[in-house]
C-alpha cells in the first residue's frame, strides 16, 4: 500500500526515450498495444496508481482536520456511499467519547446545514436506519457506577432477542436498540461480561454475521477487537480498496488508542511504501507516550 515516491522519481527523471520505450514494451501487464500504434497504459493500472498516491494525501488531510470536522466529513461520506460503509458511521458514533460525538454533530451542522440524524433518515431507507440514528443521537454517561442487576437482566433481553426471536428482525427489536443506543459504555461492558458468564459465549460471537449489530457491540464493548479486525483486513494480501482506506482512517483517528493497546506496527511496516508508510509509522510513533 502506498507508493515508493523516491524510487519512482528517480526512475522517471532519469529515463530517456529509449529507456521509456523498453519500459512500455516490456511491461505488458501495465502497457497494452493499442491499434493506433502506441502502448496504452491499462486503465485499471492508472486507477490503482492514483489510489496509491492518494493514500498519502488522504492521510495528511485527515490528520490536518479538526477531529470534529474530520468525523463529520467521514460520516457524511459514509452516508452517501451506502450500506457497505455504514460500519464507519457505527465506528464514529461508538468509539468516540460523548463530547467528541457532540462535536462531530456540531461540525455537521456547520458543514452540511443539516443534522446528522436528518441526513441519516433521508438517505437510509433500510432496516439499519433505526439503529444508526439512535447511535448517533446518544450522549452517553461516562462516569462510574453500574447497576449489575440491570446489566444482567438486559443481557438476558439481548440473549432472548437473538436466540428466541427472528434473527432477521433484530434491527427492529426496540428494546435491543434502546439498550445499545442509550446505556453507558461501562454498563454495556458489564452486560457483555454477564452475557459471557451466563451463556458461555460472547455477545459478539452470537452476533456473528449480523453486520453493523456486531460492529456496534464490538465498538462499544471491545473496541480493540474491532480495530484489530479492521487493521488486519487492511493488510491482507487480497484486501479490497475499502479495507485499505480503513487503514488510514483507523490509524489517523485512533493513534493514541492503538499505542495504549500495544499495537505493533511491524505488520503494517512490511506492507506500506514510500511517504505513506513514513507518515503512518510516524503517526503511531507520535502517539507513543514515554
Amino acid at each position: 500500500i502506498g507508493v515508493d515516491e523516491k524510487s519512482l522519481i528517480s526512475i522517471l527523471t532519469n529515463s530517456n526515450e529509449e529507456h521509456k520505450r523498453s519500459l512500455w514494451k516490456g511491461s505488458s501487464k501495465l502497457f497494452i498495444e493499442d491499434e493506433n500504434g502506441f502502448e496504452r497504459w491499462d486503465q485499471s493500472s492508472i486507477k490503482i496508481l492514483k489510489h496509491q498516491f492518494n493514500r498519502f494525501r488522504d492521510a495528511v488531510v485527515l490528520s490536518l482536520l479538526h477531529p470534529w470536522e474530520r468525523d463529520a466529513r467521514l460520516i457524511e461520506k459514509a452516508i452517501r456511499k451506502g450500506p457497505k460503509h455504514y460500519n464507519v458511521i457505527v465506528e464514529m458514533a461508538c468509539t468516540r467519547s460523548s463530547d467528541q460525538l457532540l462535536g462531530a454533530r456540531k461540525a455537521y451542522h456547520s458543514l452540511f446545514h443539516h443534522s446528522i440524524e436528518e441526513h441519516l433518515v433521508t438517505h437510509i431507507k433500510g432496516r439499519e436506519r433505526k439503529l444508526l440514528v439512535a447511535l448517533v443521537s446518544a450522549y452517553r454517561y461516562e462516569g462510574p457506577g453500574v447497576n449489575e442487576d440491570v446489566a444482567k437482566s438486559e443481557a438476558q433481553i439481548l440473549y432472548e432477542a437473538i436466540n428466541n426471536g427472528d434473527k432477521n428482525k433484530l434491527l427492529d427489536h426496540e428494546d435491543a436498540i434502546m439498550i445499545l443506543a442509550t446505556r453507558s459504555k461501562q454498563h454495556l461492558q458489564a452486560l457483555y461480561r454477564h452475557y459471557n458468564q451466563s451463556y458461555d459465549k460472547t455477545l459478539a460471537q452470537d452476533l456473528e454475521g449480523e453486520g453493523i449489530l456486531k460492529d456496534t457491540v464490538e465498538c462499544l464493548c471491545t473496541p480493540q477487537t474491532y480495530f484489530t479486525r479492521v487493521l488486519e483486513a487492511a493488510v491482507k494480501e487480497d484486501a479490497d480498496e475499502e479495507s485499505k482506506r480503513a487503514l488510514t482512517r483507523v490509524i489517523v483517528t485512533q493513534k493514541e488508542q492503538l499505542v495504549k493497546e500495544g499495537f505493533v506496527p511491524n505488520k503494517i511496516q512490511d506492507i506500506l511504501l514510500g511517504l505513506y508508510k513514513d507518515f503512518m509509522l510516524a503517526s503511531i510513533a507520535s502517539g507513543d507516550v514515554k
Binding site: H113, S115, V133
Partner: protein
C-alpha cells in the same frame, strides 16, 4: 422576550447572599426579601449568588431555601433559582419517576428548548443523576411514547433558517397519507417530527395547511381521546408556536377546579427569562383577561407574589428603573 425585571444597579453577589441569609435568620422567614432578590436576578447573577452563598456559609442556597420555605412558594423559588439547564434536568428527572411521571414535561423540554440548551440539559443530567437523559426516558417509557420521546430528547436539530420547499411539499404529503390512514405512530411521522429543523418543520406544516385545507393539528384531532395523539399535537405546537402551547397549559392550569400549581409554576419559572412577554400577549388575546389578573385571582400569599414578580407585574420596592435583560432576544445564545 423575558418578563424578568432586574434592577439597573444590581448589588454585589455577596450582598445578596448576606441579605438572603438574613431573610432566613430568626423566627420565621422574610419571604418578601427573598422574592425581591431572587425574582429579580438573571441566571448568571443567581449562579453567582449561589456560589457566593456557599463560600460564605458552607451550605447550598437551595438547601437553605428547602429548609425555610414550604409548599408551592418553595417550589417556585427553588425552581426559578436553579440554573436553566439544571432546572430542566431536574424537571425531566422528576418526569421519569413513577409518581410524578409525565410525558408532557419531557416533550415540552425537548421541543421548546434550543438545540444547544437541550444539550446543556443533557450535560447537567449526567452531572446530577449519573445517567444519561435518554437512558432514563427509554427505561421509564413504553411503546409509542418511547418511540416519540427518546428521539425527541436526543435530537440535535439544525438551527438554521434554510428551508427546502420541495422537501416541505413531499413531507407534507407523507404526513397527509399517514394521518389519513390513522398511522400516527408511523416511522415516517416520527422521523419528520423528531429530526427536521424547526424552520423546515414550519415550512412543511404551512404547506400542509395550504395544500390540504386544514392545519395538521386539526387533522390530528380525529380521535380526541387518544393520549398519544394529544402528545403528538402538543409536540408539533411546541416546535412551531411554543407561546400558544404555553398559553394553553396556563389556561388549563388556572381554570382547573383547584389550580394545577405544578404546571403553573413550571411554565412561569421556565419561561420568565425566555418568552413570557409573548405568552402573556397570547393569554390576554385568548382569554380577554391579563395573566396577572388570572394568577392573582387563582393563587394567594407568597406564591402569588413570586409568580407575579416573575411575570413582570411590578410594584416593586427596590428600584424605579428596570432593565430589560435580553433586549434582543438572545436566548438561543445565552446558555452555551
Amino acid at each position: 422576550m423575558a418578563t424578568l425585571k432586574v434592577p439597573a444597579h444590581v448589588p454585589a453577589p455577596s450582598e445578596d447572599a448576606e441579605q438572603l441569609r438574613k431573610a432566613f435568620e430568626g423566627w420565621g422567614t422574610n419571604e418578601q426579601l427573598i422574592i425581591d432578590i431572587l425574582a429579580h436576578r438573571n441566571a448568571a447573577q443567581r449562579n453567582l449568588i449561589r456560589k457566593t452563598y456557599r463560600e460564605a456559609y458552607g451550605e447550598d442556597l437551595l438547601k437553605s431555601l428547602d429548609e425555610e420555605l414550604s409548599s408551592d412558594f418553595e417550589r417556585a423559588v427553588v425552581l426559578f433559582t436553579l440554573d436553566p439547564a439544571e432546572r430542566d434536568a431536574f424537571l425531566a428527572h422528576e418526569a421519569t419517576k413513577r409518581f410524578t411521571s409525565s410525558h408532557w414535561v419531557l416533550m415540552e423540554i425537548a421541543c421548546t428548548r434550543s438545540s444547544h440548551e437541550l444539550f446543556n440539559v443533557r450535560k447537567a443530567y449526567h452531572d446530577l443523576y449519573k445517567k444519561s437523559l435518554e437512558e432514563d426516558v427509554a427505561h421509564h417509557t413504553k411503546g409509542d411514547y418511547r418511540k416519540l420521546l427518546v428521539p425527541l430528547v436526543s435530537a440535535f436539530r439544525y438551527q438554521g433558517e434554510e428551508v427546502n420547499m420541495t422537501l416541505a411539499r413531499s413531507e407534507a404529503k407523507i404526513l397527509r397519507e399517514k394521518i389519513s390512514d390513522k398511522q400516527y405512530n408511523d416511522e415516517e411521522v416520527i422521523r419528520i417530527v423528531t429530526t427536521r429543523s424547526k424552520a423546515q418543520l414550519n415550512a412543511t406544516l404551512n404547506h400542509y395547511n395550504t395544500a390540504f385545507g386544514n392545519a395538521i393539528n386539526k387533522d390530528l384531532k380525529a380521535d380526541p381521546e387518544d393520549e398519544f395523539l394529544k402528545l403528538l399535537r402538543a409536540a408539533i405546537k411546541c416546535l412551531t408556536v411554543p407561546e400558544k402551547y404555553f398559553e394553553k397549559v396556563l389556561r388549563q392550569a388556572i381554570n382547573k377546579l383547584g389550580t394545577d400549581e405544578w404546571a403553573l409554576t413550571r411554565v412561569v419559572a421556565t419561561r420568565a427569562e425566555v418568552d413570557m412577554v409573548r405568552i402573556k400577549e397570547e393569554y390576554q388575546r385568548r382569554n380577554s383577561v391579563t395573566l396577572e389578573k388570572a394568577i392573582a385571582g387563582d393563587t394567594s400569599g407568597d406564591y402569588e407574589k413570586m409568580l407575579l414578580a416573575l411575570i413582570g407585574a411590578g410594584d416593586n420596592v427596590q428600584d424605579d428603573v428596570f432593565v430589560d435583560i435580553f433586549p434582543n432576544n438572545t436566548r438561543d445564545k445565552c446558555c452555551c
